[in-house]
């Protein structure tokens, strides 16, 4: 089959590789019909996540048709059309039982590595470094899916792939980021840093959950326009002197009730962090995070869907402490959201395909990565077609 392989920093290749096989009795094999490139993939592409190996197949946003099931698979059947959540969860452990799906105990074969780094290891992820399990990803024609009865959600309706594909990650991720904001319908004001795909879904989810106002911050014009189309008030941080003052002006001086960092470890805006990150003196560039920490109102919530991988510098912890801010974060507890968000799509409350700007053959994945990384050609979200 064809698969998009990571070959080093800013170097992707589409290669012919063997088809995946069932390796464990609860696995299934999915023939991929649509897959996407995520902002998280850019952290791999840019070389900021350790333990990548040349030849690793990327991709954690994918859907398709079940073509083979393992001997212990009970629910999923050959022919089922499924969307697969990007976190691999067992459904049986203490964390899965508490709906903390991304904290699953049992799916990372390299849990020891992550444990050494973080104290404990969470769930494995598709195509996201050996630290996170080393599972081959779904930017490929076929993919092996462990725990076939637990993760994949069957799509019974004839909704096109593009409307349901993002249940695999960014819609639930934006939604959880908004849910974490404890929105009081009709009252809460939510500020969102980053108008990439995750930010876009966070904006729309916050409004669906009843936020009275959403303020979106970025400096990419087409992304700000998309945020406005989704109902947000926007701030181009290149065009204002002080984002904080602007936010105060828009919130009667109180500050936003909740702040969402949908930027993550590669924020732009701070030469200091850029240099330190390049020299590996710092894992992440927490520029947006610092701003969000200072901007959120007293007693408010800081919600962090943006990915951080390690140690960060000069974090104004005193600001979040001094204001009694609650911080909520993490990889999305995907399985919680699949059913309810599919219903929102089926009921026509949201059409997630709004975010797609490019449709590209899988064989052009290397060019698509470069375009998305450099935000060229108005690129916001790329969907890859594995059939070509």
């Amino acid at each position: 089959m064809k698969a998009a392989c990571w070959m080093g920093k800013k170097h992707m290749e589409v290669q012919r590789v063997p088809d995946p096989r069932i390796l464990n009795p609860r696995d299934c094999i999915v023939r991929v019909t649509a897959t996407a490139i995520c902002g998280s993939d850019l952290h791999l592409y840019d070389g900021y996540i350790p333990t990548m190996e040349k030849g690793d197949i990327l991709g954690h946003e994918f859907m398709g048709e079940v073509v083979e099931v393992g001997s212990e698979v009970k629910k999923r059947k050959v022919g089922d059309r499924v969307v697969v959540p990007f976190t691999i969860s067992c459904g049986s452990c203490w964390h899965c039982a508490r709906q903390q799906w991304s904290c699953c105990d049992n799916t990372n074969p390299n849990a020891g590595l992550l444990e050494a780094l973080n104290g404990y290891s969470g769930a494995a992820l598709y195509g996201y470094s050996h630290l996170y399990g080393g599972y081959a990803g779904g930017q490929a024609q076929y993919v092996r899916v462990p725990f076939a009865d637990i993760g994949p959600i069957k799509i019974e309706s004839d909704l096109p792939d593009e409307k349901v594909l993002f249940l695999s990650d960014i819609f639930p991720t934006g939604y959880m980021a908004a849910e974490n904001c404890d929105i009081e319908p009709g009252r809460s004001v939510v500020a969102v840093w980053g108008c990439g795909p995750v930010g876009q879904f966070a904006i729309r989810s916050a409004l669906l959950l009843g936020a009275s106002k959403v303020i979106a911050i970025d400096n990419v014009p087409e992304r700000l326009r998309m945020a406005e189309a989704g109902g947000a008030v926007t701030i181009n941080h290149d065009e204002v002197d002080d984002v904080l003052e602007r936010l105060k002006a828009l919130t009667g001086g109180r500050g936003p009730d909740a702040a969402i960092d949908a930027v993550g470890m590669e924020a732009h805006g701070s030469a200091y962090d850029q240099v330190k990150q390049t020299l590996r003196l710092e894992n992440d560039r927490p520029y947006a995070l610092r701003q969000a920490m200072r901007a959120v109102r007293k007693g408010g919530v800081l919600s962090v869907p943006g990915v951080y991988s390690g140690f960060i510098d000069k974090v104004p912890f005193g600001a979040v402490f001094g204001k009694g801010v609650t911080i909520k974060q993490g990889q999305t507890h995907m399985h919680r959201y699949l059913r309810p968000l599919l219903e929102l799509v089926e009921d026509g409350k949201i059409d997630p395909s709004f975010v797609i700007t490019h449709r590209v053959p899988l064989s052009h994945a290397p060019q698509a990565y470069a375009m998305f990384a450099e935000k060229r050609d108005g690129c916001i979200k790329v969907v890859l077609d594995p059939s070509v």
């Binding site: 698969a3 012919r16 350790p50 190996e53 690793d56 049992n106 399990g133």
Partner: protein, 203 residues
């Protein structure tokens, strides 16, 4: 496990962990003389714990049949049952060598505890205990494993140290994680045999 003088001493050792080193795996060695099961003064003692959402009886049953351990230990080990209490263990070592020993169960409280140790003449004297107790809130069972062994001197000793990793507990930790996955989900997570691209593109 009754606290031995050795383990009490080892627990007072200052921890060599470097709290703020981002990627360095800390070496948490509990190297201390043991006077209980493993003779000699260079014994290594490892304790690891895990909570498993299964009743103690089911977990105990797995361990009571010691050959089952070969499923959860990553390094290939052959364990054959010799009698109700005795088993034979064989681990391959470098240079076509095999380290073998006979072990015998020395304590058995069904559903609560199992302890075994190598016979007197073992090349690498070793002993192990596994204890099961109810986890808080009726959510399965806490499993605590303690292993002690006396690494031989010379090359074999160096190899043994390597086998048990920089962090001697890692092998035990990995085995316990695999045990937990097997008990909770019926399988052990793996990616062995999955596709990957060539490191250098062939075409």
């Amino acid at each position: 496990m009754p606290t031995t003088p050795a383990s009490r001493r080892s627990s007072r050792r200052p921890s060599p962990e470097v709290e703020d080193a981002p990627t360095k795996v800390s070496a948490r060695k509990h190297v201390s003389p043991s006077r209980i099961v493993v003779k000699g003064d260079r014994g290594v003692k490892i304790t690891r714990a895990v909570t498993i959402r299964r009743p103690a009886e089911a977990l105990y049953a797995f361990w009571r049949d010691l050959p089952n351990l070969a499923q959860i230990v990553k390094h290939p080990v052959e364990i054959t049952r010799v009698s109700e209490l005795a088993s034979h263990w064989a681990v391959s070592a470098p240079g076509d060598r095999r380290v073998e020993w006979d072990a015998v169960v020395i304590n058995d409280e069904p559903g609560r505890l199992l302890a075994w140790r190598s016979r007197e003449d073992a090349e690498v004297p070793n002993a192990g205990t596994v204890r099961f107790s109810a986890a808080p809130g009726d959510e399965g069972t806490e499993v605590v494993v303690t292993l002690e062994y006396n690494p031989p001197a010379g090359k074999l000793g160096a190899w043994f140290a390597k086998l048990s990793g920089e962090e001697p507990g890692q092998q035990v930790g990995d085995a316990l994680r695999r045990f937990k996955a097997l008990m909770e989900t019926g399988e052990i997570p793996t990616t062995e045999g999955q596709p990957a691209g060539a490191k250098r593109k062939s075409t």
